[in-house]
């Protein structure tokens, strides 16, 4: 039972992560491989505050969101100057640079040794220590991020985002300050990702830079795409499928020496398969078809 709860908590964290990336990539059409960087910034800010300043959970999460949001703006601004397809490379660059900072700035982040002993969250006097407690907390945060995404998407702001995705030039011609919207969506997306990061830090009680690498970013974008970019429930389905898939391998008696590689092959294979036969993902969102803002 504990194990099942553990899986559900992980799914919850990934739902938050992929919903936030969905806003950036699925609804605005900005493919970003920097999401693990926002995730990491959120986790580290929350952890560092908890460990050094002993501030309460809610304060730490809010600070994590603000820090990541600011960083998100930083990543979003270049999107205005850099051509769409090169922008992916730029996000890759931000991701690697962030990892380097987390890994090498030892005096501040603990570097490769990470930050162990993150205390358990205490919310309004209630200490969260059991799996059930964490699951409820993650569930609440999940619902929150879904709600925020839903509100954003249905609002006029959201409609402009989708217009930018379809045809940026046209959106600009209609008088929308495309620049502002792009930066805003990065701020929101990064901020929500930070929530997942803080959650992860508190749950595992130990973080190190190896959880926030390019591979992780690729995993998150895979969830978004396979689940269905540009659809509200897509990331939920995607997270559920991609997180549970490798756990099946644990049970199906796959020889342990090949399980990890087979799992990755499954992920990669799924991504390729979906790109070939169902680019709109499970839930049939946006399929990045030609005729969008790419040409």
């Amino acid at each position: 039972m504990e194990y099942l709860l553990h899986i559900l908590i992980l799914i919850g964290i990934y739902i938050i992560l992929s919903e936030s990336l969905n806003l950036i990539a699925g609804y605005t059409g900005l493919l970003s491989i920097a999401h693990a960087a926002f995730y990491g910034v959120g986790a580290y800010v929350a952890a560092l505050m908890a460990l050094n300043l002993h501030t309460p959970f809610l304060v730490n999460i809010i600070c994590a969101v603000i820090a990541a949001g600011a960083f998100g703006a930083l990543v979003g601004i270049p999107s205005l100057r850099i051509r769409d397809d090169y922008f992916v490379i730029a996000t890759f660059a931000f991701q690697v640079i962030t990892f380097s900072v987390l890994n090498n700035w030892v005096s501040f982040t603990g570097g490769p040794m990470g930050l162990p002993g993150i205390p358990q969250p205490v919310i309004f006097g209630l200490q969260i220590s059991s799996h059930v407690g964490f699951l409820i907390l993650v569930g609440v945060l999940c619902a929150l991020s879904l709600w925020v995404t839903h509100r954003v998407v249905r609002s006029p702001f959201g409609r402009v985002l989708m217009a930018i995705r379809e045809d940026e030039v046209f959106a600009h011609a209609m008088g929308k300050n495309v620049a502002r919207y792009k930066v805003m969506v990065f701020v929101i997306g990064a901020g929500i990702a930070a929530i997942a990061g803080a959650m992860y830090a508190y749950y595992i009680s130990f973080i190190d830079p190896t959880s926030f690498t390019v591979t992780e970013s690729i995993f998150i974008i895979s969830i978004v795409i396979i689940g269905g970019a540009g659809s509200l429930w897509g990331p939920v389905v995607g997270a559920a499928v991609l997180v549970t898939l490798p756990e099946i391998l644990r049970f199906v008696g796959m020889p342990s020496s090949v399980a990890a590689n087979v799992r990755q092959i499954l992920y990669g294979g799924l991504l390729v398969a979906f790109m070939m036969w169902r680019p709109q993902g499970f839930m049939g969102g946006y399929s990045f078809e030609k005729g969008g803002s790419e040409k």
Binding site: I82, D85, Y86, A93, G268, V272, E289, K290
Partner: protein
């Protein structure tokens, strides 16, 4: 120490330029980011390992066979995955994502077969490198630099004078016009994959002979190649060569003055600066973003 520094930069740039050229060839012909190019790079030396150690084939023949297989691998990706996706009118993003997926699959297949630890195909005694103006350089490193120079010049000549090479440039400039002129763009793209993959495979083998190989060696090496392409300008061979050299030197400077831990970060900061302020690279032509 300046000479050692320069030598190190040359050695690194040689790999970057080969990878960058292959990547650029595919990008110009097929217009998407072929991330799986990194896996092609890594496959080269592993194939060589199979031929030399498992099948007992002679070294020269093994090298030729490995490069040939790597070509086939690249072409297979085009025929089985990229081609169909492209014909279904999917955007470059879909292709790039598929490419990421292919990279992950291929890299893990290599891990599965060979294990994740470092493998070596070198033979021979470890000895001090040859002293050249105060710097030390080993025979394989000299070979790497020479092969690189030859291939770069060869590719430049090919693109300028050979019929296929000119066809590639035509497709890169304007695919529709090229098609109208009777060039089969699909075939040209296939050739781009073949040549690009061959370059990557050769680069992989050279690197493995120098610093051994791991299944994950591809992604990082490819990224350095991409940085070289962006610094230099995707449509200019001299530009890419210059970009590779500059990147190599910048990294050496970085390691010298700061620390080698920041090597990657330095490369990518340079990349960002160029993307922001001169995305066409040193030698590229400026392509303006459509503004109303």
């Amino acid at each position: 120490m300046i000479s050692q520094f320069a030598v190190n930069a040359f050695i690194a740039s040689s790999t970057y330029v080969l990878l960058g050229l292959g990547f650029a060839l595919v990008y110009r012909a097929a217009r998407f980011f072929h991330f799986a190019h990194g896996a092609v790079f890594a496959s080269g030396p592993y194939l060589l390992l199979i031929f030399v150690q498992c099948a007992g084939v002679s070294w020269p023949a093994s090298v030729v066979l490995s490069v040939a297989c790597v070509c086939v691998l690249g072409c297979a990706m085009e025929v089985m995955a990229y081609g169909p996706i492209r014909r279904a009118h999917s955007s470059p993003i879909v292709l790039a994502l598929a490419s990421l997926g292919i990279y992950v699959v291929l890299q893990n297949v290599i891990s599965l077969i060979f294990g994740d630890d470092t493998k070596s195909i070198r033979t021979g005694v470890v000895r001090e490198g040859i002293n050249v103006l105060g710097a030390r350089i080993t025979p394989i490193q000299i070979t790497t630099i020479c092969v690189s120079i030859v291939l770069v010049i060869g590719l430049a000549l090919f693109l300028r004078y050979a019929k296929l090479g000119r066809a590639m440039r035509a497709v890169a400039n304007d695919p529709e016009l090229a098609n109208l002129s009777g060039i089969d763009s699909d075939r040209v793209i296939l050739w781009a994959f073949a040549i690009g993959s061959a370059l990557a495979g050769i680069a992989g083998i050279l690197v493995a002979l120098d610093v051994d190989m791991t299944p994950t060696m591809g992604m990082n090496a490819l990224m350095m190649g991409v940085v070289a392409v962006i610094i230099g300008g995707v449509s200019s061979i001299p530009g890419i060569a210059l970009g590779a050299l500059l990147l190599g030197m910048a990294q050496q400077f970085g390691v010298w003055w700061i620390s080698s831990q920041w090597q990657d970060a330095i490369a990518f900061i340079i990349l960002l600066v160029f993307l922001l302020f001169r995305p066409q690279g040193f030698m590229g032509r400026k392509v303006k973003k459509a503004v109303v």
